[in-house]
């Protein structure tokens, strides 16, 4: 983008320097400082206490629960994402736009509201409360509620990434495969899947980050039972509210590392998918559109 340009098309040097200073200063203030403070507070009292905060039984239980939630939520949303994108991009039907809007809905719902609706549905005063009680089942203030709330907030991530991508790719390759005698499953596995793998991976990475880091929705339905229904973010909150700041930041630093790993993986996938798309010579506006929509959805 920054190939040689005639000088008269650039801003005066002082404007350039000012813009650079403002943007980098803004990013340093709002991105670097918060990140740095997490690690600084976590290691304030040395490595020993840092490690101790992480191997303590409640912390380990929180890590286990977070992994369990992600292992359930990500594959389910993966299947949903592929199914929804397949129906929406490969067929024409009435109400398609409405369906896309409904899939996006969880992005515009406050996480707190996302938690609340499951309490209204499954709580002891909720619609299904009496029924669950009769069978001695617990959904909210227990692990199933945490899983459901996470499913809700991570619902659109993968579908959102696949829809624009598959829209851009069209139907021709699949139709060719069928004409050549492939079964539906063969066509999907040999043609569709290789075409969407980077978009799929991109969606999975972001879906996983959100599933492991969700706080608001999970906090409403979890009931905060230590060692049982606390995810890592909730464990961070409990420690913080008990003024165990160092331990709280130590556990938070694990999540911060996860965020950094997510950013690295995301950049790698973006780079690889750009290359794949260039090789296949698909108009370059499409990958941009796909990742933008997903990013914008946050």
């Amino acid at each position: 983008m920054s190939a040689a340009r005639p000088a008269h098309l650039d801003e005066p040097a002082w404007v350039r320097r000012l813009l650079l200073a403002v943007s980098l200063g803004f990013l340093a203030l709002f991105l670097l400082l918060p990140l740095a403070v997490v690690f600084s507070e976590a290691l304030k009292k040395g490595w020993e206490l840092y490690v101790e905060a992480l191997v303590e039984p409640d912390a380990l239980a929180a890590i286990r629960l977070t992994l369990l939630v992600a292992v359930i939520a990500v594959p389910l949303n993966l299947v949903l994402g592929v199914a929804a994108a397949w129906a929406i991009t490969k067929f024409q039907f009435r109400g398609k736009q409405a369906l896309v809007t409904l899939i996006d809905l969880p992005f515009s719902v406050s996480p707190v509201v996302a938690g609340l609706i499951y309490v209204l549905l499954f709580g002891s005063h909720g619609w299904l409360g009496p029924l669950l009680k009769a069978y001695d089942l617990k959904v909210v203030y227990a692990v199933p509620g945490v899983v459901l709330a996470t499913l809700f907030v991570t619902f659109p991530f993968i579908a959102r990434e696949l829809i624009p991508l598959m829209q851009a790719q069209g139907n021709e390759e699949e139709q060719a495969a069928l004409t050549l005698g492939a079964s539906g499953w063969q066509m999907f596995r040999r043609v569709t899947l290789p075409n969407i793998k980077w978009g799929l991976l991109y969606g999975v990475i972001l879906c996983n980050a959100r599933a492991m880091g969700e706080f608001g929705a999970v906090s409403v339905v979890s009931g905060h039972v230590r060692g049982l229904t606390n995810t890592i973010p909730l464990h961070v909150e409990i420690l913080y509210n008990e003024y165990a700041y160092q331990a709280s930041f130590a556990v938070a630093s694990v999540l911060a590392l996860l965020a950094l790993v997510t950013l690295v993986l995301k950049s790698v996938v973006e780079w690889r998918s750009d290359r794949q798309l260039k090789d296949r010579a698909i108009p370059s506006e499409f990958p941009g559109a796909a990742s933008l929509q997903l990013k914008a959805a946050g």
């Binding site: 350039r16 909720g126 139907n171």
Partner: protein, 276 residues
């Protein structure tokens, strides 16, 4: 429903999508309407317009608006810098812009609180100047700036990358100054994207909970955001009250969603006009 095309799997994929969507999203969301409907109109109105609730709307929407405005200006500067200028470490900076999407909100919340508390890295400089950030409404704004930071950058960046430099050259050769070129040629091109980013940042900020509760101090009438108030009602077993406030928030986010879709439609039309 009509289907065209010869590909298999419409029934299966569509059926699964609708089933899953209903189970996870639609049926649970419908509880808000039904729970609120257990109140008669007067009680509902009283629940969603109580002074403490109104104060929380003012704070939530005011702080979200302010934060989105800051992000509008700073986000444009960042997008401009990333697209047009070269500097060392640019790739890393570009990747780091997405940090607020990747960092769990609770972590952001405690980190910002630690920074702006009176003994924090920022707080110890700001408090002698009489600026208190942590545990005040200003803290809410700071948290919401963090949360909304990537939206404007990521919506404007691709549009700026695609902007045709020939138009700028033409404007310059016709005697326009750099500022005139920016205001009259570039700004109209990126305006829909800029507004979309602004609206997305605003919408996200209105519902935000995790990063705000730690730094806000949560004083009723002063620094209590609406999502927190919903949780408070829930903890008091006022389910209908919680559902009513949540319903108001949900309807407002529908309005925002509609507005964002209109903006994106406008942007798409712009794109069509540019490349016939």
């Amino acid at each position: 429903m009509h289907r065209f095309g010869v590909l298999p799997g419409f029934g299966l994929s569509m059926g699964f999508t609708v089933f899953y969507l209903s189970l996870i999203v639609l049926i649970p969301l419908s509880t808000l309407f039904f729970k609120s409907a257990t109140l008669d109109w007067e009680t509902f109105r009283a629940a969603v317009t109580a002074p403490r609730v109104l104060a929380s709307y003012r704070l939530t929407f005011g702080a979200a608006l302010l934060a989105a405005l800051v992000n509008l200006v700073a986000g444009l500067a960042v997008a401009w810098t990333l697209v047009r200028y070269d500097f060392p470490g640019k790739k890393i900076v570009d990747a780091l812009v997405d940090l607020p999407f990747a960092l769990p909100t609770a972590v952001a919340g405690i980190a910002l609180t630690a920074l702006y508390a009176s003994n924090g890295w920022m707080g110890r400089w700001l408090e002698p100047l009489g600026i208190k950030v942590a545990y005040t409404p200003l803290g809410v704004v700071v948290a919401l700036i963090f949360i909304g930071l990537p939206f404007v950058v990521r919506t404007v960046q691709p549009v700026l990358e695609d902007a045709e430099r020939e138009l700028e050259e033409a404007a310059t050769s016709l005697g326009a100054s750099r500022l005139q070129t920016f205001l009259k040629v570039l700004l109209p091109t990126i305006l829909p994207a800029l507004l979309t980013g602004f609206a997305l940042a605003f919408a996200r900020a209105v519902g935000e909970y995790g990063s705000v509760v730690f730094i806000a101090g949560n004083m009723p009438m002063v620094s209590e955001i609406t999502p927190l108030l919903i949780i408070t009602k829930l903890e008091q077993y006022d389910y209908a009250g919680a559902a009513s406030i949540a319903l108001v928030m949900l309807l407002l986010s529908f309005v925002l969603l509609l507005f964002i879709n209109l903006l994106q439609w406008w942007q798409a039309r712009r794109g069509l006009g540019k490349n016939p």
